[in-house]
Amino acid sequence: MSENDLIAIGGFVVLFLLMLVRVPIGVAMGVVGVGGFGAIVGLKPALNLLATSPIRTITDFNLTLIPFFILMGVLATQSGMSRELFRAANATLGSFRGGLSLATIGSCAGFAAICGSSVATAATMTKVAYPEMKKAGYSDEISTGVIAAGGTLGILIPPSVVLAVYGYITELDIGTLFIAGVIPGLLALVMYMITARLWYGRQLPAGKPFSLKEALAALNGVWAITTLFILIILSIYMGIATATEAAAVGAVLTAIIGLLRKQLNMASLLDSLVEALRTSVAVYTILIGAILFGYFLAITRVPQSVTQQLLELGLGPYGTLCLIMLMFIILGCFLDAMAMIILMVPIVYPVIVQLGFDPIWFGVIIVMTVELGLITPPVGMNVFVINAIARDVPLPTIFKGVLPFVATDIVRLVLLIAFPALVLYLPGTME
């Protein structure tokens, strides 16, 4: 084992130790990146990285879409659009048996389309949908399970912050990645609805019919934001606007809609900007650290060694892919989705390219894999968020409720691996 290999292993050990004692993930990556680079090439060039790399990251125009999309989600939340989406979904689906659970999944998808964050979707929908489901006689297991699963749609249905970060790291077009997430996102929505209906069957309470007038009134509340979402996706799809421009236009128009409908005022607008900024800075910290850590990976040639060793296992393309996905699932027990993507993608990406897989397709597959970590123990971020809001529902109940949806996720992953066209068809037709 060479000295560089030892430094690489030591670097990873220090990185995980730092993260375990709550050093911010981005800072831990930055410290190990600079320290590890310094251990090989010297302190001065390592410190000079701090003068060039972080400033490049925070002034990178391609990354500005992340704060813009985050702002759009915060503005939508502040405007109470989650409640309106739920009302509209309920008016459409509520008359069926278990209609409220279907409406919850539908409104989660709708909210994910504006927001791009799974945790935010789960937190918001718990407040909106959980009391209604409880009132209608749904068990805690079903209602929280449905919300936890529905929340994961936020990571996949565009705009997705995690997909954007994947695109940045792999230098792929973020707009194309968003479009690639559309069919898998819709597939997830349909499969979750089928799972809720079939798995829980007669346990689901009967629906409540809505009059046409009630349904139209409920739909009236969401037409503006639905149109906005369609315009954003179409403008990216047709190449009319870049993803960054679409994000900024989406954020400004969401604010204008909120102000015109008196759901926002100047104070709540300022609060939204502050909130979006805090979240964006947290994401940027990880990105700064990831780029610094990338120098360490490059100088220690970790990705090349991992590629070589994985290929030497002789598992074949799909065997290697399964091994990589398994690594992500195991890491998902300890790390959050964003950190996993940032830490692991630079290491495994060369393997994927060498095996001949499409990088856009892999982006969607790996985002779906980390999405599993949001609803599986021991971390299961969405489950903890729901537990923090619905305090009387124990964690095991939520985990039990979400179990059928974990199985659905695995089936969906298999489908997308077997039929890559489900991911790649729409990007292939982009102008």
Binding site: P24, I25, I58, V119, A120, A248, E275, V281, L335, L374
Partner: protein, 178 residues
């Protein structure tokens, strides 16, 4: 060390100024995009101005997160620790953040100084980059100070890292990172 109320007010002021700058950056991209597609006349330097202004807001945002402790971190191990051990872990974690922020501040300060004499300018209007760089360094200086304040509060009062973090269960605070 300023009192907690005054610190909160200062942090809020920093957050609000950067939030307004964030709003301006968003508007610049919006107006430029609409101008280009609707009237074939984008705002000159929209590309450079928006990314530089946004960089300033991000740097100032570090000051907020340094105080509020709301960076993305792994809570898996520390949630099982006793309060005393948690406090030690928090002190260690924020000391690492302090060192990192200080080094960043130092190196970017040097870059800003060198940019002052022979620096880059924006593409269309030839606006020098150094005022933006200086504001970024100012943000980092504030981040060092606010991190130090949080460290002192952990040490003196045993406040955790999440003591001033926005609540996840707030509707407005529900944003996270996935």
């Amino acid at each position: 060390m300023p009192s907690q109320n005054r610190t909160r007010q200062i942090i809020l002021l920093i957050e609000r100024i950067s939030a307004i700058l964030f709003g301006i950056a968003t508007l610049v991209v919006f107006v430029s995009a609409v101008g280009r597609y609707a009237f074939a006349s984008p705002i000159p330097d929209a590309f450079d101005i928006s990314r530089l202004v946004l960089a300033v807001t991000i740097a100032w945002g570090f000051a907020s997160l340094g105080y509020r402790g709301s960076h993305i971190k792994v809570d898996l191990l520390t949630q099982w620790l006793s309060p005393a051990k948690q406090r030690i872990a928090d002190l260690f974690a924020w000391t690492v953040l302090l060192i990192f922020s200080s080094l960043l501040c130092w190196k970017l300060g040097e870059k800003a100084l060198s940019n002052f004499s022979h620096g880059e300018v924006t593409m269309d209007l030839r606006i020098p980059h150094w005022p933006f760089l200086s504001l970024i360094v100012l943000g980092l200086i504030m981040a060092v100070i606010t991190t130090l304040i949080r460290l002192s509060r952990i040490y003196r009062f045993g406040e955790g890292l999440d003591h001033e973090a926005p609540s996840l269960t707030d509707e407005s605070g529900a944003k996270d990172h996935e």
